[in-house]
Symmetry: C3
């Protein structure tokens, strides 16, 4: 990923969280707030009437795809979808440059997911319309980091707290977890954050990311006990440890399979903490992940994250397409159908 | 499937035909009649403007998927589609509860098909928006039974007859045929129906379903000769017998491969009967199914069933989303394009 | 393909380029010109509001599918998509007649691609709505030929030239190249064209097509040297030679892998020629195709072709659905979002 990517604004690709400073991040979040009535089905919007999203998933990611597509459709746009490992014309030797140029000719904005790091940037270099990176291998997945910080900010605000100065415990696979890296990177725009890290042996956070956080004036604490790690945290961000990355000792030591559960939180006297997770959560018996026994705790925010994903992805599209909050409001209206949350 | 499912109305899941009494069935059919100009391309409708259908097919069923998606789109809504045997996040150990909660957050109504009986109900229990069962294994497929009864009623009415007191011959695999079970179950809302059954040995109707029909005051006749079975019937409902379920004797005895054809109908002096079939119809040479030589008979209703499927599925969506017939009419209009049926 | 297909107009299937005479071809191209503001994102259009396209790809062709779907969506219509080798109900023995009748009941127009020559026509025979052939095996792919001729006409016009009397060099696999056959066939509607052909041994143009062109009054020159073939041509139409069709000698003789490149054009003193290609272009090291070193030449029109594909496919849909240019203009409007071509 080039170091010198421009700030994300109208007519730009979104390839990396490095394309944000505090101002355009706040502008994005203001837009995400403004579209909340649309995301919450209180209004319908036609601002993207006639705009086309090309949704290109070179590797499967149903949840991310549905979130992006729903966000675009809720704004009144239209979507064409391509999923699957290969593009039929690529199998005939077509270059990524030709594919990008041709397909971008059909759309107004593209969402691209690819299994190889750097491929989305390469694709973007030949696209004639803005490209939104929906994840490329172990590289970037900027919309996930943005919705994480947006949720963090909203959940803390609901408790009268700020992101500046908050205390976040991050648990799980901190080595390969792309979302954790992007999250910490994006937190560099805030000040005075305390990160408490707990990772199984061999899955610790890369030293460079830790150093960068410290260089931004944050505090980084590394713990080898999960109970101690979550004690006093405002927010606990848990990520699953993939079974193939667990050592035999870890696998044996965690027969119960929980990275975090209600019993740990009880012992840490922190049952009210905000609990986040990038999902999917591994609920198989031998997993090492967030237990579902926390699902009735008041701070559970894992589904707020996925719901907020709609707001943030709408804001990304509106920004790329140069739509103002005023234009959104002018094209929103009431609807004749009834939304039901919690049917029986 | 729980016994005590509530009646199907606004804000409710549709999981089973047991969710209908005669009143809400008639209300659904009135809605299906009301949307006929939209289904027949005489008007376009925007009543579901801004509403999102999540179409989730965990097993392939192209015809059912297209019917549901077309119905929703014709009402002005938008659709996101997911097909394929697995959900990418489920492969990572995500529970059906988490998947349902996350995906329902992107949509206003979900259509779910799953190969395992009971899975759709389990999915619905964790969805925050209404779930329509589009078939789960050998369990329920309520929209098929509803469109069958709707078609039955329209075809009989066109001949000045009623469902109450009619005579239906049901042919084919009555043991595993999910649509037959749901149809007979739903006919429990009507009175005085005569069912004449013809099934190959080993594929007879389960005794419980036969007893239930009799308990509702219907007459059940079991025949071992197809010509006798269709004699005098107002309606003949044929279903294919899957080849893997045919005994060797049956396979040999039916070298011509026809469960029902014009010659049988001629001998039974019933060439005017209403002919129905849930489709697909097996047209391979060694199949044991409805012959296509009946396609020019006046009572052929098998494509009326699929066409009516649009009306019934529109009515299901409008009911779930609390839309009135008045709201549909207010948002319907003429269109500048021309529909052609029977092009050359 | 029957010889006596009717001219393509409202309510008709589009199965073959033989369905055009000079008048209805010009009418189609006038419509393609008229929708240019929509194709170029200067206006949005709602003329197909409420119309449904069924997009049925029995073999993968992502580019063609996206082009058709985008064209329909940009006109305000809605799309349902089915891709994959088999139709789930066809696997159960359903005839192509039943599938066509059922699926056509859900849509207002169908786009069908099938790997077997003649299958699309068979499908169309049982469809109740117009079917657009999107390619059937080695048979027809009329929308590709139409966009080729449309592009040819626009590129020549921009240089003050006409299709009548122009000089086209056609390079590559002229034996199996379906697009080349349809292109030459469609050029039969024009007069006085000179075709200069260059094909590797064994991949020459079928004699019948050459004779037909001559019978239309065109000139056909066959060359065995690519440099001589492109000298003096107004237009160079290159097609890839599939590696499995290359002889060993050809494969060895073309170690550099270029059917056409800047060096050949320089030696032929024809760096300004209009360069076309049906795409995809094979950019693998051992390919025998158009080199990407021509991409900065002023006459490069290969992406104009794919962009024009939107215009031509919009015009096909509008024709089939009987929409006039006036109706398009009445339903077009400005939009609140900004289109960006060439983002960074």
């Amino acid at each position: 990923m080039p170091d010198s990517l421009p700030l994300f604004e109208q007519g730009r690709h979104l390839l990396s969280v490095s394309q944000f400073d505090r101002d355009n991040l706040q502008a994005l979040f203001d837009m995400a707030d403004a579209v909340d009535p649309i995301a919450k089905r209180q209004a319908v919007c036609t601002v993207l009437d006639g705009a086309m999203l090309g949704s290109l998933f070179f590797e499967p990611s149903t949840r991310t795809r549905l979130s992006f597509e729903s966000a675009f459709l809720r704004l009144g746009g239209e979507v064409t979808t391509t999923t699957g490992f290969t593009f039929s014309s690529m199998a005939k030797g077509e270059s990524i440059a030709d594919t990008a140029r041709v397909v971008s000719g059909y759309s107004d904005v593209l969402v691209v997911r690819h299994p190889d790091e750097g491929s989305v940037a390469q694709f973007a270099a030949h696209s004639i319309v803005p490209v939104i990176n929906a994840g490329d291998g172990t590289g970037e997945h900027p919309s996930q980091a943005l919705l994480d910080v947006y949720t963090l900010q909203k959940e803390l605000a609901a408790r009268g707290k700020n992101v500046d100065g908050c205390h976040i415990a991050i648990l799980g696979d901190l080595k390969y977890g792309r979302t954790v890296h992007s999250l910490i990177k994006l937190m560099g725009l805030h000040t005075g954050v305390t990160f408490t890290l707990f990772a199984p042996p061999g899955l610790e956070l890369p030293v460079q990311i830790e150093h960068d956080a410290i260089a931004h004036g944050h505090t980084v604490r590394v713990m080898d006990d999960v109970e101690a790690a979550v004690t006093g945290a405002d927010v606990i961000y848990a990520t699953r440890v993939q079974r193939e990355r667990m050592t035999d000792e870890l696998a044996q030591a965690n027969a119960r399979g929980d990275l975090l559960n209600k019993s740990i939180l009880t012992r840490a006297d922190n049952l009210d903490a905000i609990i986040m997770h990038p999902l999917p959560r591994d609920s198989r018996p031998d997993s090492y992940d967030l237990s579902s026994d926390v699902d009735d705790l008041p701070g559970l925010a894992i589904f707020h994250q996925t719901d907020n994903g709609l707001n943030v992805r709408m804001a990304i599209f509106l920004t790329a397409l140069g739509v103002t909050i005023e234009a959104v409001n002018l094209t929103s209206k009431r609807r004749p159908w009834k939304a039901t949350l919690r049917p029986v």
